[in-house]
């Protein structure tokens, strides 16, 4: 977290600097920790669209060309650029943190505003991760056996299913619940296959974030506590670029209503509130975002037991 000190003497400049500081905090805390939701593809911005939903066409990929007709009179068969679509809807996600004057007086060290901003933006990032992982249950292909530990078989089955759907799976990533990762590592040790797993090194962690656990058969493995469950099985996943997308709405359209202005294109808005009647200072963060399954063939759900 960066620390900002303003030493100017003009009130409006001080206010500008505070706005800039808070917005920089938002950006740093949202993106610089390499959050796992960034495995999703940003699809666009719906601000000004008049609707919360964005219906986006899915591009035709992996098609092969055909031989041309020799007579040159037959028109070439025209392929469509898109092969379906998906809809993502933006919804406002919010988080507020406040403390009373009494709490601020009593505690040894006061929680300053930048810390509250950081905690709020962390909560927003966490929420994005939750939304991202909630989409996994929608993939029509599921691997792994309900009510059993995650083993090396389920991982291979997911790779195999992706191979069938995508011809050559590359650039994919496993997202596993920490418990499922432990089971998988146990399976690697006991059933063979350790050679295919490369544990994360310091350099890899620095690049890919602290959720990165290593690579298996050339595919990244991430661990994430946000992976959802249906009380019996966790909904882990193997996803490829284009499996999950997200849309945002630009909060800068609200600038000028008295709150802290946000940079153009930012979907996150942080406001500081002071309620004298309640003797309370609070920070609120709101994020206009929506995640959706984008292309079904690019994701495989992998089941592993909860208990």
């Amino acid at each position: 977290m960066a620390i900002f000190t303003w030493t100017g003497n003009k009130a409006n400049l001080a206010a500008d600097a505070t706005d800039e500081a808070i917005n920089r905090l938002v950006h740093e805390n949202l993106y610089e920790n390499a959050p796992i939701w960034m495995l999703a593809t940003r699809m666009g911005d719906v601000s000004g669209n008049g609707a919360a939903s964005l219906q986006t066409p899915t591009l035709t990929r992996g098609a092969a060309a055909t031989a041309a007709e020799v007579d040159e009179d037959t028109a070439e068969a025209l392929n469509t650029v898109t092969v379906g679509n998906f809809t993502a809807a933006v919804a406002v996600q919010e988080y507020g943190l406040g403390q009373t004057d009494l709490a601020r007086i009593l505690q040894a060290q006061s929680f300053d505003i930048p810390l509250l901003v950081q905690l709020c933006v962390d909560a927003i990032s966490q929420r994005r991760t939750d939304l991202f992982t909630t989409t996994f249950g929608n993939f029509s292909t599921s691997k792994g056996v309900s009510g059993t530990d995650l083993g090396i078989d389920a991982m291979w089955e997911a790779i195999y299913a992706s191979q069938i759907a995508l011809n050559s799976p590359a650039g994919g990533a496993f997202v596993l619940k920490p418990k499922a990762l432990g089971e998988f590592q146990e399976s690697l040790r006991s059933e063979g296959g350790a050679a295919q797993f490369m544990a994360a090194t310091q350099a890899m962690l620095a690049m890919k974030g602290q959720m990165f656990a290593g690579t298996f058969a050339g595919l990244d493995v991430y661990t994430c506590g946000s992976v959802t469950d249906d009380a019996t099985d966790y909904s882990n996943a193997l996803i490829f670029p284009g499996a999950v997308g997200y849309v945002e709405a630009d909060m800068s359209r609200l600038n000028g209503d008295g709150a802290i202005p946000v940079p153009v294109g930012s979907s996150i808005r942080v406001e500081i509130s002071r309620d004298a009647s309640k003797a309370q200072t609070a920070v609120y963060a709101r994020d206009a975002v929506g995640f959706a399954e984008q292309e079904d063939a690019r994701g495989v759900e992998i089941l592993s037991q909860v208990a």
Binding site: S142, D230, A231
Partner: protein, 226 residues
């Protein structure tokens, strides 16, 4: 005008001991069940193939759900993608109608389970959720016999079994390299037995009920009045 019917949200929660789910437990959004065309599994205890019920979260910002939590658009999208959507408000579900229950929750958001699950708060705040498998499987059987979920297509069954056979081959290779008496051998024989049973089994079919016939003429002659 359509009647407005409330959803089943239990005021007396099924969690043992009462109270509310502590905020330290992650929220669980409301959901609806859906079945993928290839979402089938052989259930050993039942001796038949049953549909796998996937949960579509009804959470604003996920898979097309808007701020007001209206799932209508998600229903349509999932159906266009080939899924069979089990709408909680579907009158054909009978006693299973409104199968989502919302439990009292101390945190922000919602904590929802299906009516087949119970939550128990342990000392210290840990929450255990357990599913009544017999009741859950009865629901899955009902979906088939009531015609809400179409039966398993034999081609899907063949493909699913094909993947299991591949796993069996892997297990066989692993057992061949293992010492006699190693767990890999037990694992292989259990899996082979399970796969044999799965191959032989089919979806459950309700036997047609015999209709009782009242005594009297076989064909009714309409009365003609002039």
């Amino acid at each position: 005008m359509a009647a407005i019917i409330g959803k089943r949200e239990t005021t007396t929660p099924t969690q043992v001991g009462g109270g509310a789910i502590p905020h330290t437990t992650k929220a669980r959004p409301s959901f609806f069940f859906m079945v993928s065309p290839r979402g089938w599994e052989y259930v050993e205890g039942e001796g038949c193939w049953l549909p796998v019920l996937k949960r579509h979260a009804v959470e604003p910002g996920v898979n097309g759900i808007q701020q007001d939590r209206n799932p209508a658009q998600a229903y349509t999208e999932r159906e266009m993608a080939g899924f069979t959507v089990i709408r909680p408000e579907d009158a054909r579900l009978g006693e299973f109608r409104h199968y989502v229950q919302r439990l009292p929750y101390q945190g922000a958001g919602r904590y929802c389970l299906s009516i087949f699950e119970t939550a128990e708060i342990m000392p210290g705040g840990r929450v255990f959720v357990e599913r009544d498998e017999a009741k859950y499987n009865a629901f899955r059987r009902f979906l088939l016999t009531a015609g809400i979920v179409p039966p398993l297509d034999p081609r899907w069954k063949r493909e699913i079994l094909g993947e299991h056979k591949q796993t069996l081959r892997r297990k066989r290779g692993r057992a061949a390299q293992a010492m006699p008496g190693a767990p890999a051998h037990d694992d292989l024989s259990a899996y082979a037995k399970w796969l044999d049973a799965a191959t032989a089994a089919d979806v459950p079919v309700d036997k047609p009920k015999r209709r009782g016939r009242k005594a009297g003429p076989l064909t009714a002659t309409p009365e003609v009045t002039s």
